[in-house]
């Protein structure tokens, strides 16, 4: 693979994370605990979907094969999506979604910050735009985690369980594969070891403030970055793609 091909695959992976997380959030519309949270989360989901579109469009240009954002979203099979397992996990209750959000956004924010300094200008620009959005999401979800952790006994118990349950999906974020290394080497991309260190620090600050504890779990699940997903994911993809797949060639 050429450096440009690596970059293309890397950007697609960024798009996949954003789209899949956005898609999960859409499932929650009209089911949030309070009306104001509907508005907040719709804003966040719109941000993720917007980011996916920017990443996919740019990947399509780099690839040069005429594929559009929708081709990537709607006409790739499950195993060609390379998103993290964390973002595809089912929504569960509000505590689960907030924990998923915090664990991912701390990582994603670090990644985007690093990408604003990469040598590919377009990618750096997209990352700069996304970074502002994600910084706000994190502010919102971290505050919520603190409220849940330090709220009632019930919310504390639930939030701790959510954290315990999702923890094993966090290792994958920092396990650098060939693609991560290639983009680091050729484009000055993110160094996952640095991001991991910052993540540990930031997460423990938030978790502390939330009066929760870092899970003892050490086994980490992985596979998403290589296209090996959890069972839930096939349904998400099938549902999302159903219309364009049923009527190929149609314009909507």
């Amino acid at each position: 693979m050429t450096p440009e091909q690596h970059l293309t695959a890397y950007i697609l992976r960024l798009g996949d994370n954003a789209l899949v997380l956005g898609q999960r959030m859409l499932e929650l519309v009209a089911a949030y605990p309070e009306l104001e949270e509907e508005l907040a989360n719709a804003n966040f989901a719109l941000d993720y979907i917007g980011q996916a579109r920017m990443f996919y469009s740019y990947a399509g240009e780099l690839e040069g094969a005429g594929r559009s954002e929708d081709d990537f979203a709607y006409f790739r099979p499950e195993h060609e999506f390379k998103n993290l397992l964390l973002v595809e996990q089912p929504n569960g209750h509000f505590g689960d979604t907030i924990v998923r959000q915090v664990l991912f956004d701390v990582y994603y924010l670090g990644l985007l910050e690093a990408l604003t300094r990469c040598s590919d200008q377009r990618l750096a620009e997209i990352a700069a735009r996304a970074e502002k959005e994600v910084r706000y999401h994190l502010r919102h979800s971290a505050q919520w985690l603190v409220r849940l952790g330090d709220g009632t006994e019930e919310s504390h118990r639930k939030a701790q369980r959510s954290l315990d349950g999702l923890w094993r999906f966090t290792g994958e974020m920092f396990a650098a594969d060939a693609l991560d290394e290639a983009v680091l080497a050729s484009f000055g991309g993110p160094n996952l070891a640095d991001i991991a260190a910052d993540w540990q620090k930031d997460i423990s600050t938030i978790v502390d403030e939330a009066t929760l504890s870092i899970p003892q779990e050490t086994h980490m699940a992985s596979g998403g970055k290589q296209g090996m997903h959890t069972e839930h994911f096939g349904y998400l993809v099938a549902e999302m793609q159903s219309l364009p797949r049923t009527y190929p060639g149609a314009t909507w």
Partner: protein
């Protein structure tokens, strides 16, 4: 039930630099930070603002409509406070 009720906050937006904050509406929130987030996510989705204020609705002190006459009518006959009260002949400039 009442345990769950979040207090009401009034939201004020400065639409752009140089203008004053103006009342936009209200949101419910459990605390001040949340109120600010909710105000942002509810009232600035179409780039309506550059600055936000939120204040608990129950902290606002308002004049009483029953006293409107006593409060505001006395100002009505002080027309000499307005520049249009004064006759200045044509030809006088910079006044």
């Amino acid at each position: 039930m009442s345990e769950q009720v979040w207090p009401l906050y009034e939201v004020f937006i400065r639409t752009r630099g140089g203008l004053s904050h103006r009342h936009a509406g209200s949101v419910h929130a459990a605390d001040d930070q949340m109120a600010l987030d909710h105000a942002r996510d509810t009232y600035t989705r179409r780039s309506e603002g550059v600055s936000l204020w939120v204040v608990r609705s129950d902290r606002i002190v308002a004049s009483d409509p029953a006293e409107t006459a006593a409060f505001f009518e006395p100002a009505e006959d002080k027309i000499y406070r307005h520049p249009t009260f004064y006759d200045i002949p044509d030809g006088v400039e910079n006044l």
